[in-house]
């Protein structure tokens, strides 16, 4: 096999996160693509390969065109005949499609590639998509839709699952209500000067602790909302990168994580697990991080800035531990120490407010994290710029349904 080429990010575009009932997903997607092209000083015809996030809630809105987002967006951007793939890896889709774009360039298949995702997830709990009144007539394997079964038969929503993991963590290592509220409070400080965040305000400790339980012990303000959003990221070879930008970011490592058999986690959309000795929980997330460090040759101590998936305050803590290789419980102390303050910290985490301030736009979420890392590492965040000046390596990880994970490390290349 030929050696792979090194790849860099040269353009980013993002539609703000929030609720935009007046726009279609495709309109938001076009805005993100146009912004990314402008950022990279490119035209649409310069793009040689493309990967798109496939929208998940197509029975509720969007329909098949939102699943087949590539050609649906090309209808608006203009059809240029390039390879396009659509990928659905739940909330990890954004970074999964970025990996596709990176691989297309690394392999020599294309010199420029784009990853695009647009999403309208706003509107409460995620829910099963089965709508066929008589599925058994065609699908005798109906028990495969464990998502439908867990939702209707056990009432397990996403926050219910997170709350159960959190309840156990409180029992095992004594995580407190105070720590959970602080995770939300401190990330919200980063959102104040992030024009792409949905909630650009500081949530006070009192207001967080006064918010009602959705699934005890998780409170409303400790769980991310659902949002609309869109993002686009353009990559090219390291060799060509300086033609398009003064500040290319080398994609040092990017991967997709899936679970190991015997993981004790009852993953979202599943009804059971069969825990095996020696297999850790959240194995899909740990597998992804292991690959990142192996492929980059870096270690946790080399990481200067992190975007982690704080879908809830529980996620904040477990993903800080997952990314930095900490023991269970150590994230609580690190959070309270101020080291991971989004703006002032020695190791800024979720500098733009994280998923908590954005609300989750499922398939676009990973691209939003990458866009935020790129803006910080280029020093473009204005009042929201982190105080730390040494930003060599940045890490972003997304958490997804059903054991889907993705993560990347970006390295300053100028």
């Amino acid at each position: 096999m030929k050696p792979m080429r090194e790849v860099a990010i040269v353009g980013i575009g993002q539609h703000p996160w929030g609720q935009f009932p007046e726009k279609s997903m495709q309109e938001m997607g076009v805005e993100a693509i146009v912004a990314a092209l402008k950022d990279a000083n490119m035209n649409w015809r310069d793009i040689e390969s493309a990967a798109f996030g496939g929208y998940m809630w197509i029975a509720d809105r969007g329909g098949i065109p939102a699943l087949l987002m590539g050609t649906s967006l090309a209808r608006l951007m203009g059809e240029t005949g390039i390879p396009m793939v659509n990928c659905v890896n739940a909330c990890a889709s954004g970074q999964a499609i970025l990996r596709e774009a990176v691989l297309a360039v690394a392999s020599g298949h294309a010199d420029t590639a784009i990853a695009v995702a647009a999403d309208k997830s706003a509107g409460g709990f995620f829910r099963p998509q089965l709508r066929d009144a008589a599925p058994a007539k065609f699908d005798k394997g109906g028990f495969n839709d464990t998502d439908y079964i867990r939702f209707c038969m056990t009432g397990e929503t996403n926050p219910a699952y997170w709350a159960m993991e959190l309840q156990r963590r409180m029992y095992d290592v004594g995580t407190t209500d105070e720590t959970l509220a602080y995770a939300k409070h401190i990330t919200s400080v980063g959102a104040v000067n992030n024009p792409y965040a949905r909630y650009q305000k500081v949530f006070t400790m009192d207001e967080i602790k006064a918010s009602k339980y959705v699934a005890e012990p998780l409170r409303l303000f400790e769980i991310c909302a659902t949002s609309d959003g869109a993002g686009a990221v353009i990559v090219t070879t390291m060799e060509n990168a300086k033609k398009y930008t003064k500040k290319p970011l080398h994609v040092k490592a990017i991967t997709v994580g899936t679970p190991t058999f015997g993981d004790p986690t009852i993953r979202l959309t599943f009804c059971s697990s069969y825990p095996r000795p020696g297999v850790p929980d959240l194995s899909e997330s740990r597998n992804a991080i292991k690959v990142l460090y192996k492929n980059s040759g870096l270690q946790p101590g080399d990481i200067d800035i992190i975007e982690l998936p704080d879908n809830s305050s529980w996620h904040y803590l477990v993903y800080l531990e997952c990314i930095l290789g900490l023991k269970q419980g150590e994230a609580d102390k690190m959070l309270m120490s101020g080291k991971v303050h989004p703006i002032d910290g020695d190791l800024p985490v979720c500098s733009g407010g994280g998923v908590a301030a954005q609300g989750e736009a499922v398939v676009a979420q990973g691209l939003s994290q990458v866009c935020q890392l790129v803006r910080q590492m280029r020093g473009e965040c204005g009042k929201g710029q982190v105080k730390k000046t040494k930003l060599i390596n940045g890490l972003a990880q997304t958490y997804g349904y059903a054991g889907n994970n993705a993560a990347c490390i970006l390295t300053k290349a100028w």
């Binding site: 409460g124 709990f125 829910r127 099963p128 089965l130 394997g141 028990f143 464990t146 439908y148 079964i149 867990r150 939702f151 209707c152 038969m153 056990t154 009432g155 397990e156 929503t157 926050p159 219910a160 709350a163 159960m164 993991e165 309840q167 156990r168 029992y171 009602k212 339980y213 959705v214 699934a215 005890e216 012990p217 998780l218 058999f261 004790p264 009852i266 009804c271 059971s272 697990s273 069969y274 825990p275």
Partner: protein
Amino acid sequence: MAKKQVPLIGGLFTWPADKPQLLASKCKKCGAYFFPTVPFCGNPDCPKDKANMEVVPLSNTGKLYSYTIHTAQPAAPFKMDPFKPYGVAMVDVAEGMRVLGMTTTTEGLKIGQQLEMTVGRLYEDAENEYITWMWKPVGK
């Protein structure tokens, strides 16, 4: 006359039964369990042979691994009428599986306590009462 109790989705647990049990698949080769049932063993080292899989009822008692009290009302297709806050639990059963299920109570749940499986009502129509499996603290 009492309405007929019908599982909302059939085939997930033994019914009618005095002591209902979840129905799982067991691999005769490696001993792994799966719930709900599966056509093939999910162990990557096992052959994908349907003949290796048998349907077995799981223990109807278990230990509470964790739980939550869900106070918000989920959207359709979830249906509980009338709605009231409910417990959801992860329960470790003797076969080495961890399974989900609602709890019969929202009061006094404690990690590590013994639970037994029963059924509970989600909603009813003119003819039937629709039920699911639920976990109940032993002796309560």
